[in-house]
Symmetry: none
Subunit: 413 residues, 2 copies
């Protein structure tokens, strides 16, 4: 079964708002086993909407529109749909009663534009909107389903969940679709692809693999389509087991996991604590760790030591180290990690020192040079990296590396 | 001049990633005076791409594609484009040299998939990608411009800014468009709108105002279109002067300023330094400050004190305060700000302590309660806020408040 999503509104085209509705609908439709084959955004005008509908019904069985239904819009969508489906706008009493009730509750006067929200094309089925005033509409015409919903995200979601999901499941015989996403870090997309080339070549035609890269990370998404759930699930499980055998060392989680969330789980499971000493990452590791709810259970804090004096006075880095090999060195990050672990009384610690740029690079230590140390009860290790010449990404990559080094130490101990 | 944006990739259709590229491009094209008339997202397959190109060139003069250019095999865009434009993939030596250089710099081996990134259709003009390995491509065919760029947002942005904007301005006669963006913080959109209602009503029809809200901030973008640059510029200048008179206290900058960048400029101008002591913001203020290049000139560091022991031992917060009024209190943040300022030897300091949630709230101090202090050479002040019940937004709003309180103190002294 194929679907197309059409969003209506100039505010999307000029980038004034980001279209999160389509992403959400894409996820929900995929879960239902409905393939989204196309997405379109068009202007608030009759011709654009009609052209989009004509093109969509050539490609898809289910056409889902969002936007263009609010009270201040020109109501162009509703008139266009009535005309497109050869019907007329008529008053829906249930919707009118609901709109009237909302205005009474909010003690607001009701004007004609509000009353007009109860007008719907006579050949649609109303999808009642319990979170707002603009109703959704369902048209079942020539074997295709056309759905129109308001663009306000929570209203759209509520209508889709309450009405559309059960109605689509009833109306169509839907296949089984399974998605599994495996999260890797600190290996480039092309190296990962090389390592799993054989696995990828051996995939059956009904299971697809997609690489989804972001800074320091690549997500691997396996998507399978089949008639039988258990068979497909088993097939994908076997593939992913094999994937772990090949590149398990780079895998830090699955689906919506994050490195910082998984480290939190590991620390809580072992009843251990962590602190950080950050120079070049400037608090970004601390921010990631503390963005996880409940992190105060295992995170004591950080000494962010942008100034060398802070490294010496707060972390016990020796002035000789700074004077000889400098702050961006193995010796310095080792002392930083051990220093903060002792001072903040934690079981583990991460330390970073590097040249995030754009200035400060030398021939010996170019911009992007970063030393990272992780200290635990049984060892302190340090590693050097080159993170490239972009400040923001150097900070992000260093944070991911530091967290991943901690993760590996936690797993090994 | 009309443009259409085509994004390529199943990850967008199934909603695994949110399409922020199209929004960004929509904004940039609008600024250039180019109307985005349509947006399309299609699957990674030849027919879908060809159909989208055929439809787009009926509607638009400029067709911009993003996505589908990475090194791995789920990318077929380049082959499809070569075929579509009746040309073949040939090796571009400049791109190959660049890719080779990147791999040498990062001390990584180069494999065939990396080398293939240097293959481009022979009739395109290469848009050199200085932030990655996949080049952009520019086709000027039958009076229409087709642009293909990688989907990684920072690579796409860099290519568009460096190459596409100047090339589009040269290739087409674009109208005079002036945008001015004024940045406000710590005032809600509807309150701001109420305050500047009269100014907005008095705008001439060729100057539009858009409200662009984000967490803790609202950007006001004035966009004018005219035939004569100087007249338009003067008109907008007068309006903005008036805007400063009405809501100047909420304005922290213009265009691409950030609070942290402007604070950096103020500190450098006064030759002063700052440190931070962060509990509920967990390093996010430090991260914002250190994301500014050159911040080591005025930023010494931070004590992130998630644990109460760290507040006591490192910042000198008195145990009595913690035992009586607690960590989320005026007394605590005042001691934190003064403590970190003394310890890290800076002229100014910001301190935060609050309940970011979702747990830890009480009837007296519900989730979202945050105390923020700013300490300077002549005074230390503290203020209480309620930042709402979302952890991420509470962290962000608290950071913005803390930075803005520092900015105001710096301006006043």
């Amino acid at each position: 079964m194929k679907a197309e999503i059409i969003t209506i509104g100039d505010e999307i085209l000029i980038g004034q708002i980001i279209d999160t509705n389509s992403s959400w609908l894409g996820q929900e439709l995929s879960k239902l086993g409905i393939a989204v084959v196309h997405r379109t955004s068009v202007s608030d005008n009759r011709k654009a909407i009609v052209d989009a509908l004509n093109a969509a019904k050539q490609r898809a069985d289910i056409i889902i529109m969002t936007g263009g239904l609010g009270p201040t819009k020109d109501d162009i969508t509703k008139h266009t749909l009535a005309e497109y489906f050869g019907s007329e706008l008529t008053l829906n009493q249930e919707v009118l009663d609901w709109v009237t009730k909302i205005f009474r509750m909010r003690k607001l006067p009701m004007i004609d534009t509000n009353r007009n929200q109860a007008l719907v094309p006579s050949n649609c089925e109303v999808l009642f909107n319990k979170t707002g005033t603009a109703p959704g509409m369902w048209f079942d015409i020539d074997g295709k389903i056309f759905i129109s919903m308001p663009g306000v995200p929570f209203e759209m979601k509520s209508i889709f969940e309450t009405h559309c999901i059960p109605k689509l499941q009833k109306r169509f015989e839907l296949p089984v679709i399974i998605h599994r996403t495996i999260l890797t870090c600190n290996i480039g997309e092309s190296f990962l692809a090389k390592k799993i080339e054989q696995l990828e070549n051996d995939l059956p035609p009904h299971i697809k693999l997609a690489y989804l890269p972001s800074v320091g990370m690549v997500r691997l998404r396996f998507s399978g389509s089949h008639t039988h759930y258990a068979t497909l699930k088993n097939e994908i499980d076997v593939i992913i087991e094999h994937l772990y055998e090949i590149v398990g060392e780079y895998i830090y989680g699955e689906e919506n996991d994050t490195l910082e969330k998984n480290i939190g789980l590991l620390l809580k499971g072992k009843n251990k604590t962590v602190s950080t000493a950050e120079s070049c990452t400037g608090g970004y590791i601390a921010h990631l760790i503390t963005s996880v709810p409940g992190s105060s259970a295992y995170y004591h804090g950080s000494i962010i030591c942008y100034a060398n004096d802070v490294k010496i006075n707060e972390l016990g880095v020796s002035p000789e180290v700074l004077n000889t090999v400098g702050a961006v060195s193995e010796a310095c990050v080792l002392q930083m990690a051990q220093g903060v672990r002792a001072k903040l009384k934690t079981d583990y610690a991460i330390a970073t020192s590097g040249i995030a740029g754009p200035d400060g690079g030398t021939a010996e230590k170019p911009v992007g040079t970063v030393w990272i140390a992780v200290s635990g009860p049984s060892q302190t290790i340090a590693q050097q990296f080159n993170m490239g010449d972009n400040r923001e990404r150097t900070i992000q990559r260093s944070a991911i590396q530091g967290l991943d080094m901690l993760r590996k130490m936690l797993l090994a101990e």
